[in-house]
């Protein structure tokens, strides 16, 4: 019995360590990991599919996180404002609690004009070191991460003082240095797959 308890406790520690604070997010300047993921309509997308774009915005989002949901309209507006400028937007849902059917309904409900891809077992979230929703990675045509972090500084639209993603997009599109290439914000931890090691 004692051995069983110890084994369970050890298992708990390993599991928590795997989802704990050791995950490091990609730093600006790093090569964005390639991926092949399927969207909620069943279409396959690779990062390479968007190689001709002037920039790709990868957004780790959630259907249930109140912070992520606070940004639904802003993500739609960003897509509206930057698609014509050659920017592609991709939503990625890596939460193990959120099914493809739920993600599909959520995307339709909020009128997402961008594809939302399902990251089964959060393999791509791990590769990017994405920990929170929403979390953004802005990738340039060379495949380099030019910005990672929040969309702006406040989930409350009335309190926005720093349009971080827009500033980064404008910089990349005009060939300038991104003013603040890495930011942080409070959000929901991505609910990850339990791993035994």
């Amino acid at each position: 019995m004692k051995h069983l308890v110890l084994a369970v406790l050890f298992g708990v520690m390993l599991t928590s360590a795997a989802v704990g604070g050791t995950l490091k997010t990609l730093s600006p300047g790093a090569q964005a990991p390639a991926f092949t993921l399927t969207d909620v309509a069943g279409n396959t997308h690779t990062l390479g599919d968007y190689g001709q774009q002037k920039a790709v915005v990868v957004m780790f989002i959630s259907t249930r996180c109140p912070v992520s949901n606070a940004y639904n309209e802003r993500m739609v507006q960003l897509h509206h404002d930057y698609t014509a400028k050659g920017v592609a937007f991709l939503g990625i849902n890596a939460s193990q609690r959120e099914s493809v059917a739920e993600i599909k309904g959520h995307a339709a409900q909020h009128g997402f004009p961008f594809p939302v891809l399902k990251d089964v077992d959060n393999v791509i979230a791990d590769a990017y070191g994405a920990q929170v929703t929403p979390q953004i990675y802005l990738i340039d045509p060379a495949g380099l991460v030019r910005y990672q972090g929040r969309i702006d500084n406040s989930r409350n639209p009335q309190s926005i003082k720093s349009q971080d993603l827009r500033a980064a997009l404008d910089a990349v599109l005009t060939g300038n240095t991104v003013p603040t290439p890495s930011t942080k914000a409070f959000g929901c931890a991505i609910n990850r797959a339990k791993r035994s090691s």
Binding site: L9, G21, Q131, F186
Partner: protein, 171 residues
Amino acid sequence: MAQRTLFAAVLAVAVLSSGAHLCAASAEAGHVTAIDEHQIPKIVAEARGNVVVVNFWATWCVSCVKEFPAFLEVRKVFAPQGLVLVFVSIDEMTSLDKAVKPFLRKMQVDFETYIKDTPHDDAFINTVSEQWSGALPATFIYTKQGVMAHSLIAEQSFEDIATRIAPLLKE
């Protein structure tokens, strides 16, 4: 007769004392202190000599609300052995009276807790840990010497926390 009077007096004092204690506890229930990024290291430093568990939570964070009772249970079991539990709410200050305090009252939290009161989220997060993205729930466990021993960025159970703090309490 004198004995009965004395007993009644003792009883009255006991009841009054008890009432005063209850009033004090009631007044403290849900007391929340606003802090910025500079206060976090001070709070941990002031508890040095104890194992310190700092839990960052928010009323909008479903996992935080779910794990909250586990932390209260951990405090109940391990506080006598030298554990200090620090709750820090990440809710907006505008939610303090309408969401944070009612939740703390519901959870019967009768000790001091904290709420973030700074627009500088980056600085606040980095002050706690450069490796922390800001994802909630987040729990950081410090040794008696004030060194961070564990950073847990996920929902925790009583067992998750207990297995980590038990060895630290014995150090």
